[in-house]
Symmetry: C2
DNA sequence: CTGTATCCACTGCGATACTG
DNA sequence: CAGTATCGCAGTGGATACAG
């Protein structure tokens, strides 16, 4: 329906945000600087993702213009993924969410403990 | 795993964000001002939500300390839901997402059209 | 190395019916 | 009015095998 819901559907995808983190340089010395990565690098970084999901998610991100897919015809073939400007701006937005999480999730957890104790 | 993922799991829920919008006063003359609502009001506002999902979502939000549930012992019983400070701050964070969506989702849609045309 | 294709188990949700 | 309980289907994702 509304544009927000479409974006939420995007962000709600478990792997979308993690890929954005990876390509956004999260965990590196300089978060916010795009870090091009190869398929296998991403696969290793996001331990637990299946090939199916990784490929599917990358395709959808490419379709949305959030990442670029570059094939280098070496042998064997090399494929690198990189955030576009659009993807980078979305990555920055998701960082706001992470910031909120870091600031407040222990509060939330505390509420949960209380709630569960009362039940 | 990380706190961000927990929050993402929360936000990814279709109805969570919509309830936050409703209780946050989205659509009212003054968005950002908490608007207490009754169960039936929410049900009407979020057309399409099943009772099961509405109740389930409200319970989880209450558990997380994001909304309060107040029972007034009238006949028949009246129940109102309202954002807590914590919930309000999360609501404001989700507005960042909505802002990004409004600014960029047409870009994304354009990319999709191009991509689909090429396929 | 970078995928694609297929099968399948699981769960999430809607619909429906019932209760205090 | 504000829920709870149960059922059944459909979509989602994991595992596996195969391919350029």
């Amino acid at each position: 329906m509304c544009p927000s819901r479409q974006l939420l559907d995007r962000i709600s995808d478990k792997w979308v945000v993690l890929i954005l983190c990876g390509l956004g340089g999260e965990g590196a010395e300089d978060p916010g600087t795009p870090a091009p990565m190869r398929y296998s690098e991403l696969s290793r970084l996001l331990a637990g993702v299946s090939q199916k999901m990784l490929t599917q998610t990358l395709r959808s991100l490419e379709r949305d213009g959030l990442v670029t897919r570059t094939v280098t015809p070496t042998v064997p073939v090399t494929v690198t993924y990189e955030l576009t400007d659009l993807g980078l701006s979305l990555y920055r937005t998701t960082r706001q969410i992470r910031t909120w999480a870091q600031d407040h999730m222990d509060d939330v957890q505390a509420h949960r403990d209380i709630y569960d104790a009362g039940a």
